[in-house]
C-alpha cells in the first residue's frame, strides 16, 4: 500500500517532467538509428586519384577497370604525378594510382610497373582499399599475360590457382547492422536505467526531501523499491520498444527463443538498476553521480565488445572485460538473435549475469540501508 503510493509519486514526477518522458522514448530510437545506419565499415566508393602518364589503350583499360569496380570513386583523373601527394594531403583522395610512361608497351613484355600511393592515416580503409586496388591490377596483369601468350601462338599453359569459396554463416550479406543493432538494446538499458535511477535518488537527497520521507513510517526497503520499480517499468517499456524496432524495422532475424532473450534482458536490467543504486549511495550531488555513472558506461562500451571484438584486445586487457556485465548480455543477445543459440550454449553468460544482478542489487540495498539509518 505504502509502496504503491511511493511508486505513484515517482510516476507523477515523471509525468510532470515531459522532457524526461520524451527522452526515455526518443533516446533509444535515436541511438538505434545512429548505430543502425552509421555503423558501416565497408570500404566502398573510396576516393581515388589517377595519374595516367601513358594515355595508351592499355592504361585506359586499367583505369576504367578501377573506375567501374564498385570499390572506388574517381575523385580526380589526369592528375600530374607530382600533384598526387598534395592531393592526398588535402584529403581529396585516399588512394592514388600512378601509371608511368610506356606502361602499355611494357605490359606487352611483362615488365610494366605501376605505383599505388595510400593515405595511411585511415589505416583500415587504406589497407582494404589497397588490397582491392592491387587485386584489380593483378587481374589486369594476368589477362594481359594470357593475351600475350595467345598472340605469341603458343599453346595455352594451364597454371594452377587456389580459389577461396567463402560460405558465410548467420549473416550472408555481412551486414554490420545485424551485429550492432541488437547490441544497442544493451547500451540503451545501461544508459537509461542506471543513469535515471541513480540521479532520481541523489536528487531527493540533494533537495532534502529524502529526510522528509524518512521520518514517515515508510521502511527503507519500501523506499528503495519505490525508486526502483518505476524505472524498471520504464526500462522494460524501452526494452520492448527497442526490440520491436530491431525486429520489425531493421528486420534482424530472431533465430533463438524470444522468452529466453526476454529473460536475459530482464536479468541485465536488474544489474543496471543495482548499478544505479550503488552509485546513488556513494554520490552526494547529481553531478558526482553523473560523473561516476559515466566512468562506468564509457569503459563498458569499449570493454564489452560493443564495437570491437574482445579477442582483439591486448592480453592484459581481456580479463578486465569479465568485470563488465554488458559483455555477457551482448554475447547472449547476439548469439540468440543471429545464431539461434539457447541456454545449453549460453549458460555461463546467464550465470554471470545472474551473479552480477544479485551482487549489485544486494550491495546497493545494503549501502542504501546503511546510509538511511
Amino acid at each position: 500500500m505504502r509502496l504503491r503510493s511511493l511508486i505513484r509519486k515517482e510516476f507523477r514526477q515523471f509525468r510532470r517532467d515531459r522532457r524526461l518522458f520524451g527522452m526515455a522514448i526518443m533516446a533509444p530510437i535515436i541511438q538505434l538509428t545512429l548505430i543502425g545506419y552509421a555503423a558501416n565499415l565497408d570500404v566502398k566508393g573510396l576516393p581515388v586519384a589517377i595519374c595516367d602518364e601513358d594515355l595508351s589503350r592499355e592504361s585506359g583499360r586499367l583505369v576504367s577497370e578501377v573506375a567501374y569496380s564498385g570499390y572506388f570513386r574517381v575523385a580526380a583523373s589526369s592528375v600530374r604525378s607530382e600533384d598526387l601527394i598534395p592531393l592526398l594531403a588535402r584529403g581529396r583522395a585516399q588512394l592514388a594510382l600512378d601509371i608511368p610512361h610506356n606502361f602499355g608497351r611494357d605490359s606487352r613484355t611483362g615488365k610494366a610497373q605501376v605505383q599505388i600511393v595510400l593515405d595511411g592515416s585511415d589505416s583500415n580503409s587504406a589497407g582494404i582499399g589497397a588490397g582491392y586496388l592491387s587485386g584489380i591490377v593483378l587481374q589486369h596483369g594476368a589477362r594481359a599475360l594470357v593475351l600475350q601468350r595467345t598472340r605469341a601462338g603458343g599453346p595455352p599453359v594451364p597454371l594452377p590457382q587456389l580459389d577461396l569459396r567463402p560460405r558465410i554463416l548467420y549473416n550472408p550479406q555481412l551486414a554490420s547492422l545485424y551485429h550492432m543493432v541488437p547490441a544497442v538494446l544493451g547500451l540503451v538499458l545501461l544508459v537509461i536505467t542506471s543513469n535515471l535511477t541513480a540521479l532520481s535518488i541523489v536528487r531527493e537527497r540533494e533537495a532534502g526531501t529524502l529526510e522528509q520521507v524518512m521520518v514517515t513510517p515508510v521502511r527503507a526497503w519500501e523506499l528503495m523499491l519505490g525508486k526502483l520499480v518505476p524505472y524498471a517499468l520504464v526500462a522494460t517499456f524501452d526494452l520492448l520498444l527497442v526490440l520491436a524496432v530491431v525486429l520489425f524495422w531493421f528486420q534482424v532475424p530472431l533465430r533463438g527463443s524470444f522468452l529466453f532473450l526476454l529473460g536475459s534482458a530482464l536479468l541485465f536490467l536488474l544489474t543496471c538498476l543495482g548499478l544505479g543504486l550503488v552509485v546513488s549511495t556513494v554520490s552526494r550531488t547529481q553531478q558526482q553521480a553523473q560523473m561516476t555513472i559515466f566512468l562506468v558506461i564509457f569503459p563498458s562500451i569499449i570493454l564489452s565488445g560493443f564495437m570491437f571484438p574482445i579477442e582483439n584486445m591486448p592480453d592484459w586487457m581481456q580479463p578486465l572485460t569479465y568485470a563488465i556485465p554488458l559483455r555477457y548480455f551482448l554475447v547472449i543477445i547476439r548469439a540468440v538473435m543471429l545464431k539461434g543459440s539457447g541456454l545449453p550454449e549460453l549458460w555461463p553468460n546467464v550465470l554471470a549475469l545472474a551473479l552480477f544482478a544479485v551482487g549489485l542489487v544486494g550491495a546497493g540495498a545494503a549501502l542504501f540501508h546503511k546510509r538511511l539509518s
Partner: protein, 378 residues
C-alpha cells in the same frame, strides 16, 4: 559587459568546482583513463584470428598451406576437425571465427595444373571482423597461389618470366607508413573525449542553479545574461583546456602518437572546438528543467553521435544522406578532420581553414542560442 562582474561569476563558479573535489578529479583523470582504455581496446588490426582446419587431402602441399597460415601472426589454429559439420559446430560455439576445408586430391589436382577451390566457413555475425578475416585469407591464398604457380612453371620448363605477374606494383604509404590504426584512433579519441567531457561539465551549470533555487537570486542581481553565461563558461574552458593537454601528452607518452604539424595550431583549433562542446552542454542546461534530464541528455546527445557520426570509427562517406547531413552540422566531424590532418599529415592552416571556419561559425551559433534561451528564462 562588465569585466569585474564577469570575474565575480567566474570565481563563484570556480568555487563550485573546487568544492566538489571528486568531480574535479574525475574531470582531469577521465581523459587519461579513457584514452588508455580506448587506445588499447579500439584496434582494427586484427591478429590471432582463431580458425579450424578440415584437411581431406593430408598431403605435403596441404600441410605446407597450413603452415603458411599458422606461421603468420594473423591466424591461430584452434584445432583440426574431420568434417565441415564439426567445424560449423565450433563456429556456433564461438570457438573459432572461420574454418578452411581443403578438398581431397588438392596436391594431385595442382600437379596437373588444375585450379582448386578451398571452402571457407565464416562466422558472419560480426560483419566487420568477418570481412577483414576474408580479406586476410584471400591475401594468404594469393601468395601461396603465386608460389605454386612458380613451382608448376618450373616443372613445365617455362621461362621464369612467364609465371610472374605481368605488372609489378610498388606501394607507397604516406603519413602512417606502418598502417598502425593507433595513429588513426588516438587523435579521434581526443576529439570524442572532449565532446563528451565538455557536455558533461557544463550540462549541469544552469539547471543546477534552477533546481537549488539560486537561479532567482542570480536573476535578481544586476548581472547581464551574457555575463552570467560567459562567467560560467570560463572556468570550464580552463578545465577543458587542461584536459586537451592531458590527452595530447597521454597520446604521446603511451602510444607514441605525436603531432606532425604545428602544436600551436592544434591547440588553437582545440580551443574553438571546446567552445562548441562546452556551449552545447550549456545549451542542454538551459533547455532541461532538471539535472536528471540534462545529464542523461548530455550522454545520449553526445556520446553516440560523437562516436558514430563524426567519422571517428565509421567513415562518413558510407552513411545514408540524412545522416551525412547531420554529420556535417555537428562540430566533432570538423574537428576530427582538423585533428587527423594536423596529427598525421602535418598540414597547416592553408589546408584546414574551411573546417576551422565552420567550427567558428558553429561555436558562434551555439553560444548565441544559449544566450537566447537563457535570456528567455531570466
Amino acid at each position: 559587459m562588465n569585466l569585474r562582474r564577469l570575474r565575480a561569476i567566474a570565481v563563484k563558479e570556480w568555487i563550485h568546482i573546487r568544492r566538489d573535489p571528486r568531480s574535479l578529479v574525475v574531470a582531469l583523470v577521465l581523459p587519461l583513463v579513457l584514452l588508455l582504455l580506448n587506445g588499447y581496446g579500439l584496434n582494427f588490426d586484427l591478429t590471432d584470428l582463431p580458425f579450424a582446419l578440415c584437411d581431406y587431402d593430408q598431403s605435403s602441399t596441404s600441410r605446407l598451406l597450413q603452415e603458411s597460415l599458422v606461421r603468420s601472426e594473423l591466424f591461430r589454429l584452434v584445432g583440426s576437425v574431420r568434417s565441415p559439420a564439426e567445424a560449423e559446430h565450433l563456429i556456433q560455439d564461438g570457438d573459432c571465427l572461420f574454418a578452411l576445408i581443403i578438398p581431397p586430391h588438392l596436391q594431385a589436382d595442382l600437379a596437373h595444373g588444375k585450379s582448386v577451390a578451398i571452402q571457407m566457413l565464416l562466422d558472419g555475425s560480426d560483419a566487420n571482423t568477418a570481412s577483414i578475416a576474408r580479406q586476410y585469407v584471400t591475401g594468404a591464398l594469393t601468395s601461396s597461389s603465386q608460389r605454386l604457380v612458380a613451382e608448376a612453371g618450373k616443372r613445365l620448363g617455362l621461362p621464369a618470366r612467364a609465371t610472374l605477374p605481368a605488372i609489378t606494383m610498388e606501394r607507397k604509404i604516406l603519413f602512417n607508413p606502418g598502417l598502425d590504426s593507433r595513429h588513426f584512433t588516438v587523435p579521434g579519441l581526443i576529439v570524442v573525449i572532449l565532446v563528451i567531457l565538455g557536455a558533461l561539465l557544463t550540462s549541469g551549470a544552469v539547471v543546477r542553479e534552477r533546481e537549488r533555487g539560486t537561479f532567482e537570486t542570480l536573476a535578481a542581481s544586476p548581472l547581464l545574461a551574457s555575463e552570467i553565461l560567459l562567467g560560467k563558461l570560463i572556468p570550464y574552458l580552463v578545465l577543458g583546456f587542461a584536459d586537451v593537454i592531458i590527452a595530447v601528452c597521454t597520446g604521446a607518452l603511451f602510444f607514441h602518437v605525436t603531432i606532425a604539424g604545428s602544436l600551436a595550431l592544434f591547440l588553437a583549433c582545440a580551443f574553438v572546438f571546446l567552445l562548441c562542446a562546452l556551449g552545447f552542454g550549456l545549451l542542454i542546461s538551459t533547455i532541461a528543467r532538471t539535472q536528471q534530464v540534462a545529464m542523461t541528455m548530455a550522454i545520449v546527445a553526445t556520446l553516440l553521435p560523437a562516436i558514430n557520426l563524426s567519422g571517428f570509427v565509421f567513415p562518413v562517406r558510407n552513411m545514408p544522406l540524412f545522416l551525412k547531413l547531420i554529420a556535417w552540422v555537428i562540430p566533432p566531424t570538423h574537428f576530427l578532420i582538423i585533428a587527423r590532418s594536423i596529427y598525421l599529415k602535418g598540414v597547416g592552416l592553408g589546408v584546414i581553414w574551411p573546417q576551422l571556419v565552420v567550427l567558428i561559425v558553429l561555436a558562434a551559433v551555439i553560444l548565441r542560442a544559449c544566450l537566447t534561451r537563457f535570456r528567455k528564462q531570466l
